[in-house]
């Protein structure tokens, strides 16, 4: 187990959100879409130019840009 930034996660890697370190509009948006501490996520894939990233969350798929993913710290499962 180790904590890394969501941006650094690799494709297919899974983990649990530890914290979301941003307020304001972006923070609210991230949270209301279900990206709150304790939520399990899997990296589903990345856009052709590596940004944005698609996540699997609660049975649905969400996308966010890398610079938005920067605010999310994830505890990743090492075996991926």
């Amino acid at each position: 187990m180790s904590e890394i930034n969501l941006r650094k996660m690799k494709e297919k890697q899974t983990g649990t959100i530890k914290s979301v370190k941003i307020g304001g509009v972006l923070g609210r948006r991230i949270r209301e879409m279900g990206l709150v501490p304790g939520t399990d996520i899997t990296i589903q894939g990345r856009a052709p130019l590596y940004d944005p990233v698609a996540l699997r969350v609660m049975g649905g798929t969400l996308t966010l840009r890398n610079n938005e993913a920067d605010h999310i710290i994830v505890e990743v499962n090492v075996e991926g």
């Binding site: 899974t14 923070g27 949270r31 709150v36 894939g45 856009a47 940004d51 698609a54 649905g60 969400l62």
Partner: protein, 721 residues
Amino acid sequence: MGNKPITMALAGNPNAGKTTLFNHLTGARQHVGNYPGITVDHKEGSFHQDGQQISITDLPGTYSLTAYSVEEVVSRDFLTTAKPDVVVNIVDASNLERNLYLSTQFLEMGLPVIIALNMMDVAKDRGIEIRVEKLSELLEIPIVPIIARSGKGTKELISQALEVAASSKTMEPRDISYGEDLDESLMELIATIEQTSFLSSAYPARFTAIKYLEHDDEMLRKGQAAAPETARKLEEIVSKTSDHLQATMDVYPEAIIADHRYGFIKAILRQGVLTHKFDTDRLYTSDKIDKVLTNRLLGPVIMLAILFGLYQFTFSWSELPVSWMEALFGWLGGVVENTLPDGLLKSMIISGVIDGVGGVLGFVPLIMFMFFGIAVLEDSGYLARVAFMMDRVFHFFGLHGSSVMPFIVSGGIAGGCAVPGVMATRTLRSPKERMATLLTVPFMNCGAKVPVLVLLIGAFFTEHKALYMFLFTMLAWLVALVAAKFLRMTVLRGEATPFVMELPPYRFPTFRGLVIHTWERTWQYIKKAGTVILGISILLWASMTFPGLPQSEQDLYESQRLEITETLAKQTEKLQDALTGINQEESAATLRNSIAGKVGLFFEPVSSYAGFDWRTNIAMLGGFAAKEVIISTLGTVYSMGVIEADKASSLGDRLVKDPHWNAVVAVSALIFIMFYAPCFVTVVCIAKESSWKWALFSMTFNTIFAFIASVLVFQLGSMFS
């Protein structure tokens, strides 16, 4: 139950099937308008059930009730001011946890709410089992499972909703605990709010308190307007709590609130409400499709093919109905030509009214085809993938991944049209990116600019025509994107709208949904554009007609005609030619003497920096009506009579021989035509999609930009040649 219609609001997340349910309930008995000042659709409809008249409002899809977007503000305002008798909260059963986030906020507001648990079939296929009764018991509100696509369960839903509406029992706002720190400060806030009945006509005290803790701008603004004294007190409590939380735990109050809301949902779902038969990471059909369609190599190729297909569909398939419209207006023009006596009235009806209205209605088939195509891409879920794949590029220029569609439609592949392009910006949910897209799509080479480009390129660059055409298409993209970046750094400065969005599962669009979608947007276009455009069209006609030639000159032409008729009386063919020649001379003279002609002459000293004489100026002025009019106006001004846009080579030859024209002037004119003020149909659409202020901005900004570019080209070009 009385005869008074029950008011019902339909609310829920985007992609939860809200519109499908709305269409199913109301069928064609619906009305789409706009909320004043913003482009969020206001949909209303009515239907009967159990002898009760029900009037239903489809609220915009939202994930939350904060003031994050206009959609959320609109929804919240509607719920608190219109106070519907019952709120039907549509929830996607296959995505229960996230959808309930909005539901908890309805509960906190104490609204009379009933949940329509949609897509039970999809959930079942995914191995998701939901114990509806248990969930209903825990949430303390009625829940009815439905399948909106087929209409299954909707009768039951409505009869239960009617019961909720009829029940005199008032809903108690639900208390969700937000943890020790926040609950304490909530109590303090609520006490203050209740003491002064602060905003109590619209919101329950607890809801107001929570919104204050969430730092909801809209609520803060309302509070300050209603009772500045209390508002300040509340803000003080909030900032105290906020500071404390950040010092001790390094979190924002709003983060704690969101966490606890999800905690509340998770706690309920864990009580045996939700069970997954399969691993939640299992790949469904939709994900398998995504493996191909958003593949890093294949994805863009397929996307190009699909966008090109949409383009073909819109512009090739609509050709036939467009030609019918043209034929219809041509026929109408012919009827007027033959029945009315020559004169101003006839000229106004043909050139002002019929051409103007024809101009608007001529776009209708095009717009219908485009909206149908976009509705397919949107309803199927593919549009979200396009945004996902293109965002990196467009984000760089201050735009959004979803901007790609309007650009393509406007002429990203040469030959589109900015009118449907401007209207296609509605698929963008982010206001600043949307405005930047709206203002830059007219730079693309639309179908009306193409014949003008072809004429000039054909006349002055006989070799490498295709290459030049391609270069000018690329130039349009470059200029549009750089202009967007420029706007986003100046007048539309601001943070990028978050890209946090859902990739909804792929679905087969329902035919009914597509038809309703297409029709309502087309009708909005006809209604909005029709009225204004008629006025402007008549104005343009007048400026190119009045004040007319002085009587002495008119008499001169008349006497010439008489003379010719006498001398050539026997040779009918020669006579016709000679008469046409005189008529053409006269129209050229009339145009030169008209307001437009005078404007053209007036601007000649300025426009000569770009190499344009007064004739070109008049043509550019005419191009404001529609870009292809540049050709016919040039035709008139060079006394060549009516020039059809597709048979313009004779005009090209004439220009090549003209001493005012050469290759440098041609490039300068090409640049100007590509980038100056959009045609007025586009301008009206920009105004209707934003405001007249922006429409005027677009005209001025584009014209000034185009002129500077042309001057540069002409001056540099003249220096080197």
